[in-house]
């Protein structure tokens, strides 16, 4: 199994798709940090450096997890659909004929790459935000104390969101469809559905993917489509289980419907 996972990681490293996803997420992260400081300055002399979770969320959350995290499922989609698009699936299944092993290997590789994206993003936030925070007179140590508790959840979010994309990719097999479903689902459909249920039926759909992700990160992230202060969140572990289910559900359905089909 380690061999399969290593091979899958090599596949990700040696194609441009995952790097493009990483690059876009870093750009979004950078824009988020810039936006937070610029909007903070706009508040004039009253601007205070972020020292609480809420303020921290305002600093990086909108850019970092509002968009950058939501790029992660694309990675998972590419991990499987690129194989079908370029017919590499034939080679993959000749190397590893047991298909369930291929899927587990891809899941491990997606999770590792997702964590890598998260660490890269955090490094960028630190590189940009901390000097800026110091220059603004904010307390770096106070910020780090706030960040520490949410980092594990942040890592878990990226890993689980990559898994979510992989599940969608296994189910659909088609690269364009997979990317559209994950992007459209999390950026467009989820906020609309959430708002409709919240305002028309007074129901909080806190089990939607980005909402569950917000729970796992302990409030650092913001669920799409609503203000964070009003957010009703699951416990972190419930959120993690819900997010895992969003990944495993399509993966299991896809395994029994599409992935076991003949490769002709």
């Amino acid at each position: 199994m380690i061999r399969v996972a290593r091979a899958e990681l090599l596949k990700l490293r040696t194609t441009p798709g995952p790097w493009v996803v990483l690059g876009v997420s870093l750009v979004l992260t950078a824009l988020g940090v810039l936006g937070a400081f610029v909007s903070g300055r706009a508040h004039g002399p009253a601007f205070r450096a972020p020292v609480t979770v809420d303020q921290l969320r305002d600093l990086v959350g909108s850019g970092y997890l509002g968009e950058a995290l939501l790029m992660t499922p694309i990675l998972g989609v590419l991990c499987i659909t690129a194989e079908y698009r370029h017919k590499v699936i034939t080679t993959t299944l000749l190397n590893t004929p047991r298909r369930e092993q291929v899927l587990v290997g891809k899941a491990v590789a997606s999770v590792i790459w997702g964590i890598f994206m998260c660490i890269a993003g955090l490094a960028l936030v630190a590189a940009m935000g901390l000097p800026w925070l110091s220059a603004e007179g904010g307390s770096v140590s106070a910020l780090l104390r706030q960040v520490g508790p949410v980092v594990p959840g942040l890592l878990a979010d990226f890993a689980l969101f990559a898994l979510f994309g992989l599940g969608i990719g296994i189910l659909l097999k088609n690269q364009v469809a997979g990317v559209l479903v994950t992007i459209g689902g999390t950026f467009i459909i989820e906020p609309i559905v959430y708002q409709l249920f919240r305002h028309l039926l007074q129901i909080d759909l806190d089990w939607l993917p980005s909402m569950a992700a917000a729970s796992v990160a302990g409030g650092l992230t913001r669920g799409n489509g609503h203000g964070s202060s009003q957010m009703v969140m699951l416990s972190w572990w419930t959120g993690a289980l819900v997010l895992l289910a969003w990944g495993l559900g399509p993966a299991v359905i896809g395994y029994f419907t599409t992935f076991r089909r003949d490769v002709t």
């Binding site: 061999r3 399969v4 290593r6 091979a7 090599l10 596949k11 040696t14 194609t15 441009p16 690129a82 370029h86 017919k87 590499v88 699936i89 034939t90 080679t91 993959t92 299944l93 000749l94 190397n95 590893t96 004929p97 047991r98 076991r260 003949d262 490769v263 002709t264």
Partner: protein
Amino acid sequence: MAVAPPATGVPIEVHGLTKHFGRVHAVQGLDFVVQPGRVTGFLGPNGAGKTTTLRMLLGLVNPTAGTATIGGQRYRDITLPLHQVGAVLEATSFHPARRARSHLKMIAIAGGIDNSRIDQVLELVGLSGDAKRKVGGFSMGMRQRLELAGALLGDPGVLILDEPSNGLDPQGIAWLREFLRHLAGQGRTVLVSSHLLAEMAQTIDDVIIVAQGQVRALGTLASLMSATQSAMRVRTPEPDRLQAVLLSVGLTFQREGHDIVTIGGVGPEQLGPLLAAHQVVVYELTHQGINLESLFLSLTAGLGYEASPVGRANPPVQVWAPMPQDQAPPGPVAPGPVAPGPVAPPGRRPAHAAPDPTATWAPPPTQPPIPPTPPVPPPETPSGPPSGNPQ
């Protein structure tokens, strides 16, 4: 990284293999055995079910019925399959942005193969200088070579190749022909499908001809050719003596001109010794036997080139019986039994003995261990033309 010992050739066995794609019966009850130490050609027109059969053999397509095993195991049950089986299925299974070396490294990691093999196989197929190039910039022939390199990474005892000469230049084809013969000479099992019949005729020992998903003929190429109606053209200063000899052994013939006799239903292996035994002077002896292409066309004529829908399948023309499992040797099958010749040395054709009803099966010779890397010259410098196939 664990490196398995070099694999030895094992038989490929297909029994009752059937595949239906909806209403289309792509493969219908195939039965054949491919023996080690032989190059076996898997021939058939487009849509005959060749690729589907090979993909079922490799676990990519699930059979509707029947079994396909390699060394008695289904492909997906083989531990570290790349050490036992190398496959070339299509020259398009590459990510265009991935470099050739990375492609092979990916296979090596997944297959538990030492990285040192990568450079060896790249050199073997003549791609050492292109290892760092992206596959998207490769020609069809280069992709085919890369695919072959991937199949050879694990130094497997069984090679399954689907149209491996597609896209190769004449030099590459000649090299491949030598290479396959070399691998079979080492005792490996080589199953190769192709539509290049003239090319195959120079390469293969055994042949399986399929059409409409069914076996039409199988056996050694020599026995197939010999048992098929052929003729010998003899130019001799002693046509009357020759005529008497032919009459004495019951062969049919036809006089053409004053010094030419055409004898039917006989090949050079039978006629040569006969003429020598009776000391008939011969100026010219020409085999007018059918070649593989005409044999192929005669067996598949009128069958159509598409897979047969339900209820439309033509009854198979079983020219030879399936190889008996309990006595299948690395040789021909009944009813044209031929004593199996020794495993050919690298680059040489095995002797194709004449049909002999009294011949009996001999056990296959014990195969020596396979060295890790076949010392085959790169395609740019082929070692010379192979010996021809008697026709």
